[in-house]
Amino acid sequence: MNNFLDTILTPFTYVVSWVLWAFHELFTAIGMNADSGVTWTLSIIFLVLLIRTLLIPVFVKQIKSQRAMQALQPDLRKLQAKYKGKTDQLSRQAMVQEQQALFKKHKTNPLSSCLPLLVQMPFFFALFRVLNEASRASDDGRSIGALSAEHIRSFDGSTILGAPLSETFLGTINSGAINWAVIIVAVVMILAMTASQFFTQRQLMTKNMSQEALQGPFMQQQKMMLYILPLVFGIGGINFPIGVLIYWTASNLWTLGQQFWVIRNNPTPGSEAERELNARRAAKGLPPVGMKKEDADAAAAAAAEQRAKGQRHQPQRKNRRKKK
């Protein structure tokens, strides 16, 4: 099983190690210290930037279909009205099914699919393998992928704030001679990693979920996960080399920024973020998203009339009201 996974990961390991090597050469060429942990850390951060930049087309595709969603607003509102107050799990399932059928009918889907995530996974595992193998390979004088034995030795020996990039929190505890720099850097990185994960998730839940989703049966579970997951990653993090923690934190920060941008500019219909966006648009004299100016004015006039009617309380016979 292990060999099988290794075989699958080999091409990814090669790509990851080559990218690390290329950035490392680049930074050395512009005068940075080849053996410094800062140079290697920057190489890891630029690996993240490269992967996420390559994924931008997928992301843009998603944004475009979210824009196309505005055309579906009336249909979606009708659906929301149909399931209003029906909060049991089966009703929610029925609603999701109808929603997906609607997206399919209009050939647009605001959801990203899990591909962007699946694509990143082998690269992450490959990096994990490169960093995890580094100290053993350095002892044996081996190379890993595109990184020569010399590069591996340089990487293994490099430190950031006194903590070797290939060392783990658990490793230094078990070694008998505890390196406090590793403990401190690892704890700070684990906190940064879990905090960025937590804020990404919370931002999604507090700002970008429709009222219906917030009342759904999975909400309680999601709320619980919001607090449990940072714990899981915190505990898992003590097993990760510092280099992997750097990669993960950088990746999380990118996600956080990207999501902030999406929520601000393309919020989910019926969410808090949409209300905020419409408030900002109103301040600029623009109609709410997805509405034409005339429609918005007509809606506002109708609402005003409704309010005026509500104040009068004129008793009316049923047949008279109908005539009007």
């Binding site: 997928v58 595709k61 998603q62 149909k82 799990q89 089966l90 009703s91 399932q93 029925a94 999701v96 099914q97 109808e98 929603q99 997906q100 059928a101 997206f103 399919k104 050939k107 647009t108 889907n109 959801l111 990203s112 699919s113 899990c114 591909l115 962007p116 995530l117 699946l118 998730q201 999604l204 999975f218 579970q221 999601q222 996960m225 997951l229 899981v232």
Partner: protein, 125 residues
């Protein structure tokens, strides 16, 4: 699809179903712990993990794995998604023992308001 004449019970089926039940356990754990991390991203109904769980429940590990792989490959930013149910399997379940995932994946769609109203009128006559 030819249906079984009776539910698959007894020691023999218990043993044959061990791999299937292990994978069902793994998928349930995934859906409980890892799925919520990414929120709703799937372009299909049922979502890929719900589809996978039902596929393994209905068809066992081998055919189920094939169905899941094919579904995950189809679920990408260039597909339109939509409603895509697991093909029916041969298994039947005793009254009231239908696995929860099958119930959840096949919700009864209530009639639309107008359709419901016209239906009521027909009943009145």
């Amino acid at each position: 699809m030819r249906k079984d004449s009776a539910p698959r019970t007894g020691l023999l089926w218990f043993i044959i179903d061990i791999p299937r039940n292990i994978v069902i356990g793994l998928l349930k754990t995934y859906r409980k712990i890892i799925s919520p991390l990414y929120g709703d991203v799937c372009r299909y109904f049922p979502s890929c993990s719900a589809y996978g769980l039902e596929a393994v429940t209905q068809h066992g590990v081998v055919k189920g794995a094939g169905l899941i792989t094919w579904r995950i490959l189809r679920c990408n930013p260039w597909s339109h998604g939509g409603v895509d149910h697991v093909p029916e399997g041969p298994r039947i379940w005793p009254e009231g023992k239908l696995p929860r995932i099958i119930v959840l994946n096949h919700p009864v769609i209530p009639d639309d308001e107008d359709a419901a109203e016209s239906g009521r009128k027909e009943l009145d006559h």
